[in-house]
């Protein structure tokens, strides 16, 4: 058997990897719509409910081929969602408890059925446990093709109904007024999530398959404000995570695929949180630093202007640095960097007297005067017409924390509240 099938594993592994990658892509795309619709966890109840269907399909048919089991999973996923809707509509139980209830009870029923059938020693029932945490090594090529086919259909469906889905996600009232069936589009979205959860089972398992729908969209959201780009990026993140999971679980025997796929997705997500432009942590830190430097440059300009007004001879950088760090309680490095920028842009130039003293250049002098004029202007506007000032200042102002002494800020805020 091994001799005959020797060339096969490579082919099989490739097809399985491709199939699981397609599932990862489609889950990312569908999950993005769910995230935009603010229902990121829509699939969790369905995911936990799939286990009952897998076990019941096996017990009812005695077969354990993937299409049969996944058909059972789909039926019970839909039943789980229906139970969720029934609990929400017919009882006083609130949404969060209803979701947790369906998750816990349906998963318990699945575990009881699975464990009951393996305790009876039914042939083939032992392998069903791979649906708990995912196990792609056992997938056959034609199963993988089935998963890939369903995933492609899901992506095509999203592409076809993209405009409608976005309208519902971003402006429900507008979509309803346009005459689109908002409720049905929502039902279709949840159904699509349920389908993705079901085809994601072999890769991620019932407990973790939600992550395939949740994590890639969150990662993609960090990189873009465009919905279409986000869907595509989420698909790519899901695809990469699925490939990484399949590869590692193939290389390290005994590791279930699901947690590996999820960890890969989580790593990409964490990376996005750190390095994504604009929204990422690094970008935010750098923007904050730029604001702080700009503010410090302004303070330095004001100091130089005052010293020029007091008399010729310029001012010493040490003095500026001491005053700024003292007044603003800010880091010496930030102050020095701000001063260096002033020097580099020739806003301050060495004073003719020398002795390491500096003075404002002509353009620097103009800039300092302009800055002072502007601040005075705003100050009088804020005092004379606070309402008008509030309107005009509706632009991206820096966070007060970036520039004000924290203690002072606390006192000011307390005084206001």
């Amino acid at each position: 058997m091994t001799a005959l099938q020797f060339p096969m594993p490579a082919y099989n592994t490739l097809i399985v990897a491709a199939g699981v990658a397609a599932v990862g892509f489609a889950a990312g795309v569908v999950g993005s719509l769910a995230l935009l619709r603010k229902r990121p966890l829509a699939g969790d109840a369905a995911a936990h409910a799939t286990l009952v269907g897998v076990a019941a399909a096996f017990l009812a048919t005695g077969r354990r081929d993937l299409p049969t089991l996944l058909a059972g999973a789909l039926v019970s996923a839909v039943a789980g969602l229906a139970a969720l809707v029934a609990v929400r509509r017919l009882t006083r139980t609130r949404d969060d408890a209803a979701t947790a209830l369906v998750i816990g009870v349906s998963f318990g029923a699945g575990v009881a059925l699975l464990s009951g059938s393996s305790a009876r020693g039914l042939p083939g029932s032992a392998g069903l446990e791979q649906f708990l945490l995912g196990h792609t090594a056992a997938l056959a090529a034609r199963d993988a093709l089935l998963l890939a086919g369903v995933s492609c259909l899901a992506v095509l469906l999203v592409a076809a109904a993209f405009k409608e889905a976005l309208a519902v996600a971003f402006d429900e009232a507008f979509a309803a007024a346009t005459g689109w069936p908002v409720a049905w589009i929502d039902v279709a979205l949840v159904a699509l999530v349920a389908v993705m959860v079901v085809v994601g089972l072999p890769a991620a398992g019932a407990v973790l398959v939600t992550a395939l729908v949740v994590i890639p969209p969150v990662a993609a959201r960090q990189w873009t404000d465009q919905a279409a780009t986000m869907l595509l990026l989420a698909g790519i993140v899901g695809l990469l995570a699925a490939l990484a999971g399949v590869a590692v679980s193939a290389a390290v025997p005994g590791l279930p695929t699901g947690p590996l796929v999820v960890l890969a997705a989580a790593a990409l997500c964490a990376l996005s949180f750190v390095v994504a432009p604009q929204r990422g942590w690094l970008a935010r830190r750098m923007a904050e630093r730029a604001v702080r430097r700009q503010w410090l440059r302004g303070l330095a300009l004001e100091l130089c202007l005052r010293s020029a007004e007091a008399g010729p001879g310029g001012c010493a950088p040490d003095e500026v640095e001491r005053r700024l760090t003292g007044d603003a309680a800010r880091g010496r490095r930030a102050v020095r960097a701000a001063w260096d920028e002033l020097v580099r842009s020739r806003t301050v130039v060495p004073a003719p007297g020398g002795g390491g003293r500096w003075q404002l250049s002509t353009s620097g002098h103009a800039a300092a005067l302009e800055r002072r004029r502007r601040i005075g202007d705003w100050q009088s506007i804020i005092e004379a017409a606070p309402e008008a000032a509030r309107e005009s200042l509706s632009i991206d102002l820096p966070a007060p924390e970036a520039v004000l002494d924290p203690e002072l800020l606390k006192t000011l805020r307390r005084g206001k509240g």
Binding site: A98, I103, G104, G108, G116, G258, P259, A266, W281
Partner: protein, 426 residues
């Protein structure tokens, strides 16, 4: 297993006792989660404690020991902190943030356990659905008796939770239902929230060995959700939730024994059945009592409509006005039969006629109807032919007192806007 009958009984007894204690602890915490509307926090923590437990066991802790409890609480706090950081710091939708964090942590826990393999005293399947059946075999000696470690851990957690809840009950209630007012009165709302969180982690770990990480969510949420349908006051909900949980644990364990299947799964199923029973049978909000009260109302409406129709027909026979009596639903036929048997309707010369009592009842319905039409006609700019439908509905709900007040306001009118007489009060 094996052993004598007595040993068997002792083993099952310990497993049953452990299940009951774990369920009770989860039910107490679950009540807080459900009323604070953070049930999914229980789900998230149930998953996310896994890496904490795994690392603690790798560091030499024993399941059920203090190190494992500490690891789990740390993991729970980390979950909430990470979720909040993603939500507030990076503007990720709150549900999505929670979904990212708890699935990632759970995945990390599974990978740690799988990689550690034989070096770690956790069975990977136990992670998912517990091994309640094996709990009695891992014992410690307490006062000379062999007590299962899991039972001991769960009993200590239960005792601690009950004591903490009893001591801070007023704070808990206040913080759950009106956090703003509670904060204004100086109640440490944040501490109560953190305490709830730590309690959830403790109950989760207590239940971890017995029922597994995922099924803990059923034990946390279902008893409280069921109890909430049955009673209103929070301490009643908590006590009833504990009772439901213990009953579910016992019945589930016995059912699992009978059908030879996983005990934790069966306990979750029995809890689900208990919830459905509560939803169906609850005295006020249950499906049955709602259906009964709807049916009772429909029955009264059918009887009153029937009497009123007959009264109008008799009025029409004298005043030569047309009336329509053409309702032949199942309920109307039954109502007619009942009214004849009851003596409100009697057989007349050509068909049916009202008896004295039937006429009095019918007059009150018609009086309500016509008074309402008159009141609407005066106060609401409705065309004449639009007065009938609302009156047809409200005639069943107006009592003598409201009729009297409407009449007083209308100033003793004797006819409705259609010019028909309003019968006097009985």
């Amino acid at each position: 297993m094996g052993g004598t009958f007595g040993e068997q009984i002792a083993i099952h007894g310990w497993a049953l006792a452990t299940a009951a204690v774990v369920s009770a602890a989860c039910a107490v915490v679950g009540t807080l989660l459900v009323v604070r509307r953070v049930s999914l926090l229980g789900d998230a923590i149930g998953h996310a404690v896994l890496p904490g437990i795994a690392v603690a066991v790798l560091a030499g802790g024993r399941p059920g020991g203090p190190l494992v409890f500490a690891g789990a609480v740390a993991a729970a706090l980390a979950t909430v902190w990470l979720t909040r950081t993603l939500h507030e710091g990076l503007a990720v939708d709150e549900d999505a943030a929670s979904g990212v964090v708890f699935t990632s942590l759970f995945a990390a826990g599974v990978v740690i356990i799988s990689l550690a393999g034989p070096r770690i005293d956790i069975d990977p399947s136990c992670v998912l659905y517990g091994i309640l059946e094996l709990v009695p075999f891992d014992t410690v000696r307490v006062a000379g008796a062999a007590v299962p470690r899991a039972f001991l851990g769960a009993a200590i957690v239960l005792g601690g939770l009950v004591a903490a809840a009893a001591l801070s009950w007023k704070f808990i209630v206040f913080a759950a239902f009106d956090p703003a007012a509670a904060r204004a009165l100086g109640i440490p709302v944040g501490a109560v929230a953190t305490g709830t969180l730590a309690a959830t982690a403790l109950a989760t770990v207590a239940g971890f060995e017995a029922v597994g990480a995922v099924l803990v969510v059923a034990m946390l949420v279902v008893p409280a959700a069921a109890a909430e349908l049955l009673v209103r006051r929070l301490h009643h909900v908590a006590l009833l939730a504990v009772a439901i949980a213990v009953a579910g644990a016992c019945a589930g364990y016995i059912a699992a024994w009978h059908w030879n299947t996983n005990a934790a799964g069966m306990i979750a199923v029995v809890l689900g059945i208990e919830y459905v029973a509560a939803a169906v049978l609850a005295p006020e909000d249950g499906a049955v009592s709602q259906a009964v009260s709807r049916l009772r109302l429909a029955w009264r409406v059918a009887c009153e409509d029937r009497l009123a129709a007959l009264w109008r027909a008799e009025e029409g026979a004298t005043a030569a006005q047309s009336v329509t009596v053409s309702r032949t639903g199942m309920l109307d036929v039954l109502a007619g039969w009942w009214l004849r048997r009851d003596g409100s309707i009697e057989a007349g010369a050509d068909g049916e006629r009202l008896s004295g009592r039937g006429r009095r009842d019918a007059e009150m319905v018609v009086r309500s109807h016509r008074l309402w039409e008159a009141w609407l006609g005066r106060h609401v700019a409705l065309p004449l032919d639009h007065l009938h439908p609302p009156a047809e509905w409200i005639e069943h709900y107006l009592g003598a007192e409201v009729r009297g007040r409407i009449e007083a306001e209308l100033g003793r009118r004797e006819s409705d806007p259609h010019g028909r007489d309003i019968p006097p009060e009985a």
